[in-house]
Symmetry: C2
Subunit: 334 residues, 2 copies
């Protein structure tokens, strides 16, 4: 599965910038594949890209209309359907990370068939998978793991991919969630596969490779989040990581949405993840910690990174504030 | 979901006793719900139950035709369909643990609708689930965990349920795999749910209860099987077990189907499972080890159980050879 590029970013009629995080992510990490944006109202959030009609975007070479917004229910509003239908008539593919499927709309399904376009519902994965086998495969792999959900794992891995390539280490980001898939154009939402195939789906996302040096695999969840830990363990086993990076949000007191579940001690989290990773790669090692320090001042963040760095004997940084070069420096030695 | 009882056990035309393990399991553990068996040929394996026609079984009160066989592809042979259709016409429900769905046959779907019968494809779970939340819930729970797949977890938990009830501890077996579901008539195949819902499905299978003392939850896979460990971890978190029983097959050298993956040291397996279980139940404890000793003599098995018992300071038994009363004795104290 590879979503044809470049994209026209569809922002619908959302007015809350947080709801356009997917589009912002694509624009931030893959600016070269964005030919412009399309907004249904003047109040709709803007990414600062050129506002294009479907026809203009087509003329500029756009191949896929990318739904770059999210809403609470994950549904596709009726007010969007007309634009989506017009896009298919012009030959656009459409990609979506919404829970509701594009293919659930008979008109979109028919038009896609008629105009030979593809509909990508990346939150779902319908192709058949094999169970994981844990057999070592060619290539080096880095995996981000978290103290919880939503602590910056996708940002960290995309920042690492960029910094590695800038430092001359050929790296490829491997997406495991819908936003990452829309950014990179390929991947599998591993939390949406049948439970038996979690590690197998990661083996599929990052197979043996010879044409670059590192796969940088997006993490999901946490071994200590009782809702999703199974996904995180299957990901650790499937990734066969040579290098692990821990992601943590400073100030988070408990597992997201679960006030009765405290975040465990960092030492325990480091030990448990390394132990699990070693099942399929005995050489797995920690190479750094990435903190989301948005809750504290830059000076406090700098001090915290120094303090953690001496405590855990690892490079510790905030990727947004301080970049990830200190971690990439370590990768040259692996 | 509750499969209506009693059952007529359908053995099709299988001649290999191993292929009729599901039917044997139902007959062994729930003899009171089996009114008889139906075989398509004289060569078909027998359970020693009365051979009944559909009409005779109906007259004896059978409510569900239970497909009690398995084959490599998990498909329903064309040669069975006529009998299944006749059963629906007589008002039987049909239950199957095959991979291929009964509902994939239009004729079965139509007849079921027409005659108001239910088709149970227990390997699949189509109802909506919630993600797990790890909130403590009423009732005591025992979970079997394994050093690998297929080491006797279902047998162990069914044997424990029986022995507990015999010793006056009101216990209820909770099925997490298709054979267990067919035996008990309810449950969820947790390896078939979407990955995000593993622990949530276990919270559904064993909700808060007040009408008995223990839920005895069937285990799946192993934390150290790189194909399926995600399922096992979600099961540990969802089960909130007060008591854990480890199951192991004596003589197994490596993880099933994966000769490059050795079985880890028992101490490591005990530690890793207990640590994971404590995330959602800090009082989790080991209460015993069940060995499948079929590869060695009874005398050797007895000696091995004594040896392990003093090494791990737990009751150690082979449920088939020596029963599980030594483990149940410990449960009186929890």
């Amino acid at each position: 599965m590879q979503i044809p590029q470049p994209y026209l970013l569809f922002l619908g009629d959302v007015t809350d910038p947080l709801s356009a995080k997917t589009a912002q992510g694509i624009h931030q990490w893959r600016p070269d594949v964005c030919v412009g944006q399309i907004r249904l109202t003047d109040e709709t959030v803007t990414l600062g890209l050129d506002d294009l009609s479907l026809q203009e975007a087509k003329a500029r070479g756009a191949k896929t209309l990318m739904i770059g917004t999210a809403n609470a229910g994950g549904y596709i509003p009726a007010s969007w359907v007309n634009t989506l239908e017009e896009a298919l008539k012009l030959g656009f593919n459409i990609a979506s990370g919404m829970h509701q499927r594009l293919t659930d709309f008979p008109s979109l399904k028919e038009l896609a068939k008629k105009h030979q376009c593809q509909l990508f519902d990346v939150r779902h994965y319908d192709e058949s998978l094999d169970v994981g086998n844990g057999i070592p495969r060619e290539g080096k792999r880095l995996l981000a793991v978290g103290t919880d959900c939503s602590v910056g794992k996708m940002y960290t891995t995309l920042a690492l991919e960029k910094e590695m390539n800038q430092q001359g280490i050929k790296a490829k980001f491997c997406a495991t969630g819908q936003t990452g898939i829309l950014i990179t154009g390929s991947g599998i939402s591993i939390d949406a596969v049948v439970a038996d195939f979690i590690s197998g789906s990661v083996e599929r996302i990052s197979p043996a490779f010879y044409d670059h040096e590192w796969d940088v695999i997006e993490g999901q969840g946490s071994l200590f989040n009782p809702s999703y830990a199974g996904v995180s363990l299957g990901l650790l086993h499937g990734a066969q990581a040579d290098a692990l990076v821990l992601c943590h949000e400073v100030g988070r007191q408990h597992i997201r949405h679960l006030p009765h579940m405290p975040i465990p001690a960092i030492h325990d989290i480091l030990n448990a993840n390394l132990q699990a990773a070693k099942l399929t790669n005995p050489n797995a090692q920690w190479v750094g910690i990435c903190l989301n320090t948005s809750a504290i001042s830059e000076q406090e963040a700098l001090e915290l990174c120094h303090q953690w760095s001496s405590e855990y004997r690892l490079p510790v940084t905030d990727p947004v504030r301080f970049g990830v070069s200190s971690i990439v420096d370590k990768l040259h030695l692996i």
